[in-house]
Subunit: 328 residues, 4 copies
Amino acid sequence: MSKSIKKIGVMTSGGDSPGMNAAIRSVVRTCAYHNIECVGIYRGYEGMIEGDFKELNARSVKGIINKGGTVLKSARSNEFRTPEGRKSAHKKLTEANIDALVLIGGDGTFTGGLFFNKEFNFPVIGIPGTIDNDIYGTTHTLGFDTALNTVVECIDKIRDTASSHNRLFFVEVMGRDVGHIALNAGVGAGAEEILIPEEDLGLERLLESLRRSKQSGKSSSIVVVAEGDKIGKNVFELKDYVEANMTEYEVRVSVLGHMQRGGSPSCFDRVLASRMGVKAVESLLEGKTNYMVGLLNDEIALTPLEQAVKGKSKINKELLRVSDIMST
Amino acid sequence: MSKSIKKIGVMTSGGDSPGMNAAIRSVVRTCAYHNIECVGIYRGYEGMIEGDFKELNARSVKGIINKGGTVLKSARSNEFRTPEGRKSAHKKLTEANIDALVLIGGDGTFTGGLFFNKEFNFPVIGIPGTIDNDIYGTTHTLGFDTALNTVVECIDKIRDTASSHNRLFFVEVMGRDVGHIALNAGVGAGAEEILIPEEDLGLERLLESLRRSKQSGKSSSIVVVAEGDKIGKNVFELKDYVEANMTEYEVRVSVLGHMQRGGSPSCFDRVLASRMGVKAVESLLEGKTNYMVGLLNDEIALTPLEQAVKGKSKINKELLRVSDIMST
Amino acid sequence: MSKSIKKIGVMTSGGDSPGMNAAIRSVVRTCAYHNIECVGIYRGYEGMIEGDFKELNARSVKGIINKGGTVLKSARSNEFRTPEGRKSAHKKLTEANIDALVLIGGDGTFTGGLFFNKEFNFPVIGIPGTIDNDIYGTTHTLGFDTALNTVVECIDKIRDTASSHNRLFFVEVMGRDVGHIALNAGVGAGAEEILIPEEDLGLERLLESLRRSKQSGKSSSIVVVAEGDKIGKNVFELKDYVEANMTEYEVRVSVLGHMQRGGSPSCFDRVLASRMGVKAVESLLEGKTNYMVGLLNDEIALTPLEQAVKGKSKINKELLRVSDIMST
Amino acid sequence: MSKSIKKIGVMTSGGDSPGMNAAIRSVVRTCAYHNIECVGIYRGYEGMIEGDFKELNARSVKGIINKGGTVLKSARSNEFRTPEGRKSAHKKLTEANIDALVLIGGDGTFTGGLFFNKEFNFPVIGIPGTIDNDIYGTTHTLGFDTALNTVVECIDKIRDTASSHNRLFFVEVMGRDVGHIALNAGVGAGAEEILIPEEDLGLERLLESLRRSKQSGKSSSIVVVAEGDKIGKNVFELKDYVEANMTEYEVRVSVLGHMQRGGSPSCFDRVLASRMGVKAVESLLEGKTNYMVGLLNDEIALTPLEQAVKGKSKINKELLRVSDIMST
């Protein structure tokens, strides 16, 4: 990096997650601390192409550390997937004298950043922001911890009514390709079964397990299902199947949906976001590029952005076993 | 009432709601205060028929005032709808020396109580426990206030993500025949539109309203829909209709579901439950029967149970107007 | 009122309370709905004197319905207590073409408004915003319901640890002259005793009551104390007294403090604020002045501002009795 | 370990913390899973000496995963500190055929366990349960994460009112010898300054920092103070000092107190408790003793109990720097 960095752009992209605002705040204040200018890029790559920029100083980001969503908004951009789109974006950045980018988002966001860096040799650092925790190179993505708390609080409420009526509930949580939310929130909520994309339990074993639950004296049960569970049935089909095969239970379905993406971030996510923002800016200032900031062994560490995109985040198999033991 | 009351049975029935436990606690402690015995009847009328009873003293109900659900469980009983079923129930109560009943529940619960009183001249007092607020004779049923808070907290979270992405959300809340939850939570959550069973807005006016919202500079919108809204479409059909007719918005659906029934009761519901329990027991001790305890003009008052069942709770038209003005 | 109103100023003053933002939003949007201009006056009467004004339109108040505090800020002004100060304030209002005022606050705020109206014949309407619920002419002030939920949630947490250790806790809540918060939150939290300014229980009776609690099998106890309780001892002196006279308990103190003033408003407070804002603006437009908007018998109603200031809000004696019965 | 383990006792001791119940549940269910009997020992070492035991099966611990406090209660025992006391305790355990112990608590609890093991060769495994996070051998103690969320939620509320009134708040949080809560919650709550026992900032630097805050345009400020901060003044003395030296701010104090110990555990704490309980029981079954189960590098790992007691948990210096940068 021959050229020294004087102005950094920060952007959120992809699905929003709690903690993104805390990360934006951290990036902006770290820039201010190092006397670097900072520019907010609105609506992700779409706003980058349109030059939807705003100078941000330390005071611009006050009062946002505890807010869900993203004050920079987010959007998906098809145009940025084309070389022309990226060229336009680069032109806007250059016109605005932006020297480097902090990209807050997930796989898609980082892939865009890699293209951009390759084509224009533009310094980029990524911060993983998604509730799904499906990014390689960090044990926790921003928003994951908050989403888990949201889910267990919802299931606690559902359990109140489930146990009052001896009902069985299928609760669908987010996670199309990965079962992190289902697995952790399932254990946290004391679910009797957890169905995740990484494992095909099989409908027969599910029935067996529910029957065992009933026999062991449980009068109500919660089954947590990730959106993309491997049984290959959606949560309503599961309900029908179980009702057809088990008359012992009244079965109900609850799809938690988008509320999982919102809410005030947990302390964990706020602290993580603050640490990641510092590291992202200071890494750029040290001349580093194409890295993602992550949490590894409780330390903030860098992973090459390409690995972050190509790598697979893996679920904790120990937790599956813990879940089994807990449903005794 | 020639015979003096020495033992009171308390029961929850129908859909559970936050505050039922606080009401049970209040009934039990008011009995203890007056040196009356108290018996918990489990699983509603079903448990009454089976004699599923348990003596409760002041200490039995400690630590439950802040718990959702009902420690006495709830159930629906077809058998109680038959004269034979009620005869069995009466026999069990007599065998247990239970002299009078406090029934916590909704319309169905009270209807059962009326039959029972008519057939056996058995003293009964009702306490309205349901989140739907659809009972005549009280401005607030137990659980309604808590459910409203649950719903606005969920919608606050949904709005975080809605406004980050410029999306339109249809949020379905409980209320099959009545729009109380939708109307109050809709105003409380700052919804742009509220669709309730009592009013047919019409699909055209909905589109108009959403277009007006968009033009007035709103980048995201929340529409709150009661389960039983009059437009006659379910929430997913609404989504399809709007997406087909408005390309400006990405539309998403969220069905809040059963979590609305659970959770720790609000202070309002706990206080209301405590007041109602006292009034219910003391009314029985004063020889009153066939009444429902309710909140009217901020005072605890009695309404004949028959009126409570036959009367219609009405939505507050003023709130509809407030909602309209707020979506300016 | 000969002159028609074209521009309304809105202001918050005195201690802030949850729901003030929702009321501001409602005032602003009701103005927009009626095509009236609206101006935000910052920092109460201090900002009025300084002309710290900002035009507000329907979009200016988006996203604030669920926020605690007040976006218009609050302050206390000694200068406004002088005729000169009020003259300066009036001049600023006139220069800004403001025709009428909506004042959100408590007694002090309304007293200022009455003076102002008397001296300049300036139309004012008050909205009661304070957590203390100490205003005559409304059963609920804005923020009271939210504060009650905050307090019971805190006491629920304290009870977790109290009952794990068989401890006695004195929990001090806000309310210097009135016991509304202590009384309602005390009942809601299942407190064993509630000490309020309106009633002198006496130290001896407190000890007796705690001894009775202990004998009846309670292993832990919560005593809720209003700041201004009549026993005339602060909460730490109470602790010392009880520890000196009862060795059965370990005693601890918790002063909840200012967090009671903050937090996202409950649905109840948001709806109430929305209703009050509409009524305040529309009353001004109908030529009314010197009234306070309040909730009476569940209806929004006007009370002469002078009565609101001079009248005494009274605690609900029934609740004291309910509390006694509940500590059986 | 020549003798195989057939019955395990589980106990909580010392200050309670959220997650203790989840850990008890996990210990009990892991025993059930392995067909081992499990006995709950009530009120810590005191109850052990008195033989206050109860058999627990998988169903005994239902519905407690989300409850704060400890169903086994806690107490401090002076008698257990004497050889005679421990002899009595050992006798009771032997009479009840208890072969091994899982001890949930902090330093004091583990020290007792070490004595007990040394004197009677009794197998013990510790689980770190304390909100203070002051145990060597684990990055997170049970309850720490929950306490952080409790603290930031309280400070979020305080900030609402602080920023409405341009006030400075000193907020005292728990942590007599360690600043983990203050440091993490301070960063999470966006505090302007954080005062911890590990670092003597000095009163002068505090004033400077507050002056800088004011000059940089901040209108309100939060200073988080650990109970045992090094400046050597309590939080009320700090207030007086700052008020005497800075007239720019109105200063207020809030002592969060015991509510920090209670509340429903976060998902993080529930999952951690579940994992730790499994590991504790299975380690005993594998013949291990005198270990503490901890979280190290996101894995459940064992640390010799003696090290856990003698080692020092260290605060994360990086966070101090992050905090400095964030207050820019």
